[in-house]
Symmetry: D2
Subunit: 309 residues, 4 copies
C-alpha cells in the first residue's frame, strides 16, 4: 500500500536528510550554486486528487534535465514517433550525459537517446513554432497544462547564466549541425534550450506532471488526454532506461520506477497507474542526482514495494 499521510512522508524526509551533507549543490553555473543545500521536499499526487507532501514544498526549482522528458513528449506530439526517432536514438549509453564522443564514433552521427544533452538538443530542435519565442511559449503552455498550474514560468537569471556558459552544448549542437541532425541557427536553439531548462516549479507541480504520465497521459482530474497514450509510455520507458544519468541502471535496481532527475535537484517520478512523485533536494551526488532524493525514493520503494520489476 502506498503512502497515506503527510506524516509518513515527513518521517522519510527526516531520515533522508541525513545524507544531504554527503553531496554538493551544482556549481557549474553561478546561479545554481546559490541553492540552499539543506532543502528537501517531496510530494505524491494520486489520480483521485489526493496530494501528500512533506518538507520545503513551496520551494521553487528549475527543471533542468527533467525538461528533457517534457520536450520529448511535445516533439513526439508535433512530429510522431517515426520522425523523431530518425533523428535521435532509443538506446541507453554508458557515457556521461554531456559526452560528445559517440556523436563522432556512431555512423551516421545521431545522439543515442533523448535524455543525454545531445539528444535533448536534437529534440528541442524539433519543437514546432513560428519563432524561438513561439516555440518556447508552446512548451511553457504544455507544461502549465500538465501541471494544472497556469502561473508556471522560467527563471530568467538562471536561463541567462546557462546561456552564457553553454559552450559545451554549443559544441554538441554545432557537431550535430555539421551532420544535419540540427538545421536551425544554433544561438536561437541555445536560447530556447536554456529557457526550457530554467522552467521553474515546486514539488507539488512536479508530482502532478508525474501523475499525468502515470495515468497514460490523461489528467485524472479533468479527464483530458494531454499526451497520447503511446507518447506517455515512451516517456516513462526512457525514464527507466536513461532517466538518472549514469546511475540509471543502479536506480532501476534499487528503486525500479520511471524517474527523471535534473541538476537543480528535482526528481520527477511516475508510477504507472498509481501516482506521480515530485522531489526537490539540491544537494547532488557525484552522478548529478539529488542525493537525498535518491535516498528517499529507495526508502519509499522498499516501504511501499514500488519497484515494477
Amino acid at each position: 500500500m502506498l503512502c497515506q499521510s503527510n506524516d509518513e512522508l515527513q518521517l522519510l524526509v527526516n531520515q533522508a536528510r541525513e545524507v544531504i551533507e554527503d553531496g554538493n549543490v551544482a556549481d557549474y553555473i553561478p546561479a545554481l550554486a546559490k541553492a540552499e543545500q539543506n532543502k528537501l521536499s517531496v510530494a505524491l499526487f494520486y489520480p483521485d486528487g489526493r496530494l501528500y507532501s512533506a518538507g520545503d514544498t513551496s520551494e521553487n526549482f528549475t527543471l533542468q534535465s527533467i525538461s528533457k522528458v517534457l520536450a520529448l513528449a511535445l516533439a513526439l506530439i508535433d512530429h510522431g514517433e517515426e520522425y523523431v526517432f530518425q533523428r535521435v536514438g532509443k538506446e541507453p549509453t554508458g557515457d556521461p550525459f554531456n559526452s560528445i564522443a559517440k556523436l563522432e564514433t556512431n555512423k551516421p552521427s545521431k545522439p543515442l537517446n533523448p535524455m543525454i544533452n545531445a539528444g535533448a538538443l536534437a529534440v528541442t530542435h524539433m519543437i514546432k513554432g513560428e519563432s524561438v519565442g513561439h516555440r518556447f511559449e508552446r512548451l511553457l503552455e504544455f507544461i502549465r497544462c500538465l501541471s494544472s498550474n497556469e502561473t508556471i514560468s522560467y527563471n530568467e537569471e538562471i536561463a541567462k547564466s546557462e546561456y552564457d556558459t553553454a559552450d559545451l552544448n554549443r559544441a554538441l549542437a554545432f557537431f550535430m549541425k555539421q551532420h544535419d541532425v540540427i538545421t536551425e541557427n544554433i544561438e536561437g536553439l541555445m536560447d530556447l534550450y536554456t529557457k526550457q531548462c530554467a522552467i521553474e516549479m515546486n514539488c507539488n507541480d512536479l508530482a502532478r506532471i508525474g501523475c499525468v504520465l502515470a495515468m497514460d497521459g490523461r489528467n485524472p482530474e479533468t479527464d483530458e488526454q494531454i499526451i497520447p497514450v503511446d507518447v506517455a509510455r515512451i516517456c516513462k520507458t526512457f525514464m527507466v532506461t536513461c532517466g538518472m544519468y549514469n546511475a540509471s541502471g543502479e536506480f532501476a535496481i534499487n528503486v525500479g520506477i520511471p524517474a527523471k532527475s535534473g541538476v537543480a535537484g528535482g526528481i520527477m517520478g511516475s508510477i504507472p497507474k498509481k501516482c506521480g512523485i515530485g522531489i526537490f533536494g539540491p544537494s547532488l551526488d557525484d552522478k548529478g542526482n539529488s542525493i537525498a532524493g535518491i535516498r528517499l525514493l529507495e526508502m519509499m520503494s522498499r516501504q511501499y514495494s514500488l519497484s515494477m520489476f
Copy 2:
C-alpha cells in the same frame, strides 16, 4: 487480458513468420550456422500451471546469452548483491555486447553490466564450486530446478565449437585478469562459460523459467522459493535495461517487458506477477536478436497490453 489459447498464439506465429527471411542465423561458429532458419516457436506459462504454445515447440536450442541472467542469479545467491556489484556494474551501455574498449577507459576497469560478455565472464567467474566441473554441475542443477526439467543438459558440439573460437572472450577475460576482476585460470573459465552458453532446452522450458522470475523467484507449482525475491527483481531489471543487446532501449519502448535474448534465437520473457514466455526463432536481426521473436513480442505487447510502462 493475456492469451487464452494455443490458437491465438498460432495466429501470431504465422504472422511473425513473415519477417524470418529478413534475418539470418548466427554464423560466427559452425555449429550454430547449421540451425534451420525457418523454425519459430513460442510458449506462455502461467502461474496457475497453464501452458499455451505454438510452432516448433519441441525444438531444442542453446541458451547462449540467456544464460547470463541465470548465472547472475546463481552468483548473487552465492555471494550477495554487494560482493557481485563490486566486480560488475549495473549500467547499460551503448557499446556492442562484445566490446572491450570500456574495460580500458573506465577507471578502475570493471565491466559495465552482467549482460555484456565482459560482465557475464566476470559473473561466471563468481559461481562457486570446488572445480570447474562442480561449478558447471551447480549451474546445470539450478537451471533444471528453475525449469522443472531434470533432463536439461548442454550441447557438447556447440560448447566445443564455441570454446575453439572464443578468442575474443579470452581477450576480455585476460584483460580483466590483468585488472584483478578475474583471478582464476582463463582456460578453465572458458570451459565453464562455453558450456554454460551451450545449455539446451525448448521454449516450454524457457517459459517456465521466465515464470519463476515473474513470480519473484518462486516456483508457482511447488511454492518453492528457488531465487530470493531481491535476486529475481535484479534479474528482471537487467533484462529491461540491457537484455536485448544494443536494441534494449528500442525493445523497452516497443514491447516493454523484461526479456533476454541469445544468438541461438531464444528469448526468455518474464512479465512480473503474470507469466513467463519462451521463444525460439534462429533467424536473427542485425543486433543479434531473433527477428521473428521480436516481431512476435511486439504483436503480443500490443494485443495484450503487456508493456509495464
Copy 3:
C-alpha cells in the same frame, strides 16, 4: 645529388600524373570542388637562389592545412615555446585530423598537436593583434615575407565558403572554449581561421617558404632571420611527425622529409639545409593528401636520396 634542371622535374611530373585519376578533388566545400583535377606542378627552391619547376606552376591554390605550420611559427614568435605548448600538445595522434573525441578523453582537455584542426584553432587563437582584422594582417604580412612575395592575399570566395560550412570547427572551438583552451569570440576566430586557410599562392611561392624553413628560418637571399632557429626546427619536426594527416607515418617511411599538405592539393616540403619544395595537385587520396604530389615526392626521395632517416 638533388635535381639540377626543369627537365628532370618535368619527367617526374609526367610520371606522377598517372595516378591523378585515382584521386578526387576535395568536395566538402563548393568552392574547392571547382578545382581542375588534372593540374600538377612542382617547384624546388635552393638557398643559392636557383628555382627549378615543372607543370602548371602559375596555378594559384589555397594553403588550407599548410597554413597550420605558418600560424604555429607566428604564435611561437608571439608567445614563446612554453606558453604555446601549455595550450596545445606535441604528440602525433592516430585519430583523424578533425576528430573531437580526444578533446573529451584527454584530461585536462588539450588538443594533441598543432597540425590537427583542434590544435590549429588553438594556435590561431594565439596569434596576437588588436583585432581579428589586425591579426590576419599580421599573418598575411608574415607569409608575404616568408615567400618574398608582397602580392600574396587570400581567396575571398573560398574563405566565405569555408566560413559558411565550418560547423565542425565551431564544435571543436566551443568544446575548447568550455575548457578554457580558447577564450575569444568563436565567430571572430572562425573568420580569422577560414581566411588563414584561404591564403593563396603558387608552387614557386611555397617552395620559397619551404626553403626558409630548411635554412633554419633565414631568408637565404636577404640573410634576414625571419623565424628564430628553434621555431623553424619545431615546425619541421611537426611536419615529420604529423604533417600528412593520418598518413604521416607512412610518408615518413616512404619519403622521409618534413612536409605539410593541404586539402586544396598543396604540399610544402622542407629539406633541412638543402632546399624548399612546393607542389600543387588538387586530386587527393583518401587521406586528403595530393595523390600525384605524394607520388612525386616518393619518386624524388628515391632518385635523390632525400630521406633523412
Copy 4:
C-alpha cells in the same frame, strides 16, 4: 662537432643525474623493481670504431621495448615490407603503448604501428623459425651480430616474471587472433615475446647496434651489411615517429634523433651517418622513458646540434 672524450660525457652524466630522483624504477614486475635507481651510463660509438662512454657502463639491463625495433628489422628481413605492413600499420598514435581500444575501433583490426605492444606482438609473430625456440635463437643471433657481441643472452628471471604477468599482452594477442592478425598459439608467442624483451646487454653493446642502424645497416668495422638499407631506414623512421612512447612528439622536438626506449631504462639512439648511442638509467619518467637518459639526450642535442630538423 660531436663528443670527443669520455670526460665530456662524464660532465653531462653528472648533470643529468640531478633528475634521477624525480623518476621511479618500473614496478609492474617484481624483477624490474629491483633495479638500482641511481645507475646512469652512456656510450657513443662512431663508425670509425671510437667508443666514448661514462657512468656505470658495465651494468647490464634488459632491452624491453627497444627489442621492438630489432624484431621489426628481422621480420622485415624475413618477409619484406609489403607482407609486414599488411599486418601492422605505420602510423603513430596518441594512445598509450599498451592500449587495446584502437584494435576494436579500427576496421579491419590492425595494430597502428610496430612500437606499441599490439604491433610488437604482431611483429614477433612474424619472426620465422621452426619452433618458438628456433625463432628466439634466430633473434638472439641477429642481435649478437648487430652488437658484435656473441655473449649476449637473455635474463631468465625477468623473462619468467614478465611471462607470469603478461595478461594484458595476452588480451592484445587473443584480440588479434580473433581478427586473424595473429594465428599461432598464444602461449608460445608469449614465451617468445617475453624472452625477446628480456634480452640483456650494456650501454656499449646498445651503442654499437645504434651505429649499425646509423650506417644504413652496415657494420662499420666489418663492412658487413647486416640489415638492408631500406629496413634500417624504416627502423629509424619509426624510432622518430613512435620511439619514445607517448612522448615521441616531444622528444622529436627537444632532441630530434631516432631513438627507442625501454622500461628497464635503456635508450638506443641512432644518428644517421654519424653514430650510435646507448644509454641506461632505470629511473623512469611518467611516460616510461629513462628520466636522466632523456635529460642527457636533450643536453647532448643542444651541445652537439644533434637534431635532424
